[in-house]
Symmetry: none
Subunit: 217 residues, 2 copies
DNA sequence: CCTACTGTTAACTAGTAGCGAACACTTTGC
DNA sequence: GCAAAGTGTTCGCTACTAGTTAACAGTAGG
């Protein structure tokens, strides 16, 4: 858990300096003494709620931004490594990409990190956040492609969710065989053995969300 | 000059009551005495900045909403074709639909459960599984629509992930203002105050995935 | 009756919000 | 040169208040 108060002062100072106002001027308009404002900015004293509000107002920033945890806005879109992977080596889809992400990750289609399987399947990563048990990706199944080479069912902890962007795919979950076609969506418990297969003639594209942690029940 | 402090207490009380938490429970989790929380809510005492922040966090509202001038009770803009929901009553998006789901959920576009907000936003549920801290949905922002009526930032525990199906949307996260356009994807820490706004001329459609991880304190 | 919950008030205190005065240092200008 | 006026910072103090405990009144259930 992070403490919102430790960065408060420095952040206020940064904002004030960015707007090129002097400490004394701000203090005067805020109707507090310059010395006290200095103490606030250096973390040696805490303002009251009213003072903080007035200060935020004066600096033209919403109060919440003063508390927002620090993050670097560099949305480092991860480099593309295009090698072919054996699907069976990936135990849980959430482990597909193990590199650390950012607090905010915005990714352009052409900059996605791509995993190409030996089964005619591609995974393109859609977000790289700090959450390690999450995988958000676009999956592409060429005609005839299947989630596993010899048609075995796979299972892993967690849930997964999908949305069909284009084409159609046969989904086997437990005893059920379903067809997911364009604009349909699905969610299921991944601990049930499952398999996907593109039995059609066109490429299937879908958004997939795999969530590895089991509910706290 | 309007005093932000006079409405602070009553507003906190309103929000707490809306979320159906008892004063004592909130006080306990906030680690202050119930009596003091009562004094705060009745305007007989002012919290410190740290306490106010923790309280806002606990109630799931950004601090700024507590200061917003004139509690806008005239939000009775009620064109009633369906059920229209006030966004601010939904603490965490994962609570939007509270009915239990199934282990396997396949949903056709025309059978989706729909939530229409008073802010020009629609949520269409894409999967109803047993996972309670997950919400998988299609979101639709009409031109001009925003995630919150008066442009306030919202924050809640967890992460969210999005993919732009159509149109473009302005995403504000902390200090960053990003544009998410077709086929781009995003993921971020929802505890950073954020907001979406369709500033364009066409309707925005996107897939959204909200994951409200509940840390084990 | 009792117990367990709801929120509220009174009396108190330890801590701090905020002050004024003095500090050290730059920049302006006569 | 040396004021004069600007910048931000530290010290020591006090008036006040954030937050406490204890008792309060009310309600629902058994």
């Amino acid at each position: 858990m992070f403490d919102p108060m430790v960065n408060l002062g420095p952040r206020l100072k940064t904002i004030r300096l960015a707007s090129e106002k002097s400490l004394r001027e701000v203090a005067r308009r805020l109707d507090v003494s310059p010395s006290f404002l200095s103490q606030i900015e250096n973390g040696k004293s805490q303002p009251s709620v009213a003072t903080l509000y007035a200060l935020a107002r004066l600096l033209g920033v919403p109060v919440d931004t003063l508390f927002a945890p620090t993050f670097d806005a560099s949305t480092a879109t991860t480099p593309v490594d295009d090698e072919i992977v054996n699907r069976s080596l990936i135990e849980n889809p959430t482990d597909a990409w193990d590199d650390a992400g950012a607090r905010i990750s915005l990714i352009n289609p052409q900059n996605r990190s791509v995993l190409t399987m030996d089964t005619g399947v591609r995974w393109e990563r859609l977000a790289a956040t700090h959450e390690s048990d999450i995988n958000f990706m676009e999956i592409i199944y060429e005609p005839g492609a299947g989630s596993n080479a010899n048609g075995e069912l796979i299972q892993h902890d967690g849930y997964e969710y999908g949305y069909a962007l284009d084409g159609e795919i046969e989904v086997t979950i437990g005893d059920s065989v379903l067809n997911l076609s364009k604009n349909q969506s699905i969610g299921f418990d991944s601990s049930i053995p499952h398999r996907f297969r593109n039995t059609g003639a066109v490429t299937f594209r879908g958004l997939w969300f795999v969530h590895g942690c089991h509910p706290a029940e």
